[in-house]
Symmetry: C2
Subunit: 235 residues, 2 copies
């Protein structure tokens, strides 16, 4: 409940929180590599440079979460491992074909990550919360992306429908991957569903958790509509 | 001649210095994207993370040089433009097929860039020198790369010959691209060859510059041998 920095650390962190941090760490690392790989889509050297800056920010977040996992006594690569396949699968199924698709993907993906960061901030210790808050502090890049997409849609209104559809696909594929994660990581599902780290009924209640995670994810993606509007798109 | 930070800036910078900064800016940006694209070669999640950190450092350097170009009154993308094709061609001709090849390429490429940074520091104004010096200050990553390659070569001595050959190819292709840059950028060639920004005899003396640039490049790459030794390879 305190807002100042805390010294709490050590291997006492809840397994679910470690899972959540592992998920976010790999989400940032994966986004870093995918964004960089999309560089060829950028329409100019200037845009390539901006894309590099966005990607580099993801690397900084990755590093901060990884460092926090180490501080918490967790093996960071072990914590990330369960999320490599589902996140890679998401990227694989949502390969942008244009620069604008790449921007929309970054904006949507960052938004979902931001929602998960909020969840971590809600559930974790003060030290972890501080890390998470600094990772979500900068908003300049999100504004740059939203503005670029909005301008493009204003110039060519036909883009709106196509990009809106693309955004729906991004969320749909994310939901599908989240379901599979919920099945394989009941502790994480319990954490996300209940808002507590109490995993006592995991296993037997896995299907219940699954439904709850779907609801939680639906709530998270409700904020998705606001993000689409910011880009001039429709949900 | 002063060592402290200077306020000198403005559009008075020599065209050759602008060229050199444009070359370095795109070298950093290009390396950033290529390194990130090589992520799939990394043997582990941990190595991928380290590769991301190395790439992110290149982005920071790119940003610092780009900012300096703006301060000097230059259009940074215009300054980079002449070097996009030769640097892209170099990357295209030297695509690493293994993780170790990627590391050797990074080490060799960084080394050559470092030599060019020294050249800039020698020739440019104090403000630019400060930017360049901060870009070349951190050596930790270079040590990590050299150590990793050295350990791999110690474990499997057969690698030494293959990687030494690879390093020679990297430098050979760089030299070939440098020659074409020297032809198309006589002011830059003059700057590098003479150590002054005086481009009075450019054009008529282009072939002379070309030879001088080759010699300069040979001198630069003499340091290359030391770098190879640091990795347990031979020149």
């Amino acid at each position: 409940m305190t807002t100042g920095p805390s010294t709490s650390s050590g291997p006492s962190a809840d397994r679910g929180v470690i899972d959540l941090l592992g998920l976010l760490a790999y989400a940032e690392l994966g986004s870093f590599f995918r964004l960089a790989a999309d560089a060829g889509l950028a329409p100019s050297l200037r845009s390539q440079g901006r894309l590099a800056a966005i990607a580099a920010t993801e690397q900084v977040h990755y590093q901060a979460i990884r460092d926090r996992l180490v501080e918490l006594g967790a093996d960071p690569e072990e914590a990330m491992a369960p999320f490599v396949e589902p996140l890679d699968a998401w990227h694989e199924r949502t390969r942008p074909k244009t620069w604008l698709e790449s921007l929309v993907k970054t904006y949507v993906g960052d938004g979902i990550a931001g929602d998960f960061y909020c969840k971590v901030a809600e559930l974790a210790d003060d030290g972890t919360r501080a890390v998470v808050e600094s990772a979500t502090a900068e908003t300049g890049r999100a504004e740059f992306i939203a503005e670029t997409v909005r301008e493009a849609v204003e110039k060519d209104p036909a883009l709106s429908g196509r990009l809106s559809l693309w955004a729906r696909r991004l969320v749909g594929e994310a939901l599908s991957q989240a379901q599979s994660v919920a099945v394989s990581r009941p502790e994480l599902a319990a954490l996300l569903a209940s808002g507590t780290g109490d995993g006592a009924e995991e296993g037997t209640a896995a299907l219940g958790h699954l439904a709850e995670v779907s609801r939680m994810f639906a709530a998270l993606t409700a904020r998705h509509s606001a993000r689409l509007e910011a880009m001039g798109l429709t949900a």
